[in-house]
């Protein structure tokens, strides 16, 4: 895929930070509003995919190493399973929500029926949301970059 026109590139440059911020907002507020790691990750990854469309997959493929994206995805998955293992170590059960009543971080427990929004709640859920978000951004971006690059080159190096 080749580059698109200058207008498209400029506008996607302008929009890109906003999409990323919105994606990160959805990830960070996963425990308060509709959304979470997967949805926010998909939003942020679509922002990255917009760059692929605007700048052409060849250019992106040269700038970004897919193996690095794959390693990031691995790290996201490790973070997720790592939080689960911490639950085993500190809470006594795999996937235990060990932070929720300890008083370290994200530890406030709202009253039942509380309709305000308190960010510092939900125990390990924000951490898991974050890990999943990293994973989804890296994973979806890697899939799209590889597929776009593979469809753009004429002869495969087989």
């Amino acid at each position: 895929m080749s580059q698109m026109s200058k207008i498209v590139r400029t506008i996607s440059n302008i929009i890109f930070p906003f999409i990323m911020v919105f994606g990160l907002y959805v990830i960070a507020h996963g425990h308060l509003t509709p959304g979470g790691g997967f949805q926010g990750g998909a939003v942020a990854a679509s922002g990255c995919v917009m760059l692929v469309v605007a700048y052409g997959s060849t250019w992106i493929f040269e700038k970004i190493k897919v193996s690095r994206l794959s390693a990031f995805e691995s790290l996201g998955a490790l973070g997720f399973i790592g939080v689960a293992f911490f639950g085993l170590i500190f809470g006594g059960y795999f996937f235990n929500n060990f932070l929720v009543k300890t008083g370290i971080l994200f530890n406030i427990v709202p009253e039942t029926g509380f309709t305000g929004s308190e960010f510092n709640t939900a125990g390990v859920l924000p951490l898991m949301n974050f890990a999943v978000g990293v994973k989804v951004i890296a994973g979806v971006f890697a899939i799209v970059v590889v597929m776009a690059y593979a469809s753009s080159i004429k002869e495969w190096k087989q």
Binding site: L32, T33, P34, G36, F38, P110, T112, G113, F114, T115, G116, S117, V140, I143, M147, A150, S151, W156
Partner: protein, 121 residues
């Protein structure tokens, strides 16, 4: 009867998808068929969880009367969580199928099932 319309639509979607998978000769159309079946099943799960007049089961800035009659005024949350999982699974399956199709196209130069079928009984 009319009250079950959502379920009938779900069944219709599943059968449109199955029809595409069985009768279409183009690999991409087969994939579209599978996606339609999957949307139908996801819609089915969501439909199961609907409670008459319910709102989304999230307390953040929920209206006061909803929060007071809490479980009765909210739709069931479990089917929604299952659907989220199912959607992500669908994305993964779709990515893998499309990359296989790209390879098949490179290899055979066509997407027609009749022309690429080399594995016979």
């Amino acid at each position: 009867m009319i009250y079950n319309l959502p379920f009938i639509i779900v069944v219709a979607m599943i059968f449109i998808g199955l029809f595409a998978v069985i009768f279409k000769r183009n690999l991409v159309k087969i994939v579209i068929g599978i996606t339609i079946i999957e949307s139908g099943v996801n819609l089915f799960l969501i439909t199961l969880g609907y409670r008459e007049g319910g709102v989304v089961p999230i307390f953040t800035s929920a209206p006061a009367d909803v929060a007071e009659n809490a479980p009765g005024s909210m739709v069931l949350p479990v089917p929604q969580a299952l659907t989220l999982t199912s959607i992500v699974i669908g994305v993964a399956v779709l990515a893998l199928m499309l990359s296989l199709i790209m390879h098949i196209y490179r290899h055979y130069g066509t997407l027609d099932v009749r022309k690429i079928r080399r594995l016979k009984e």
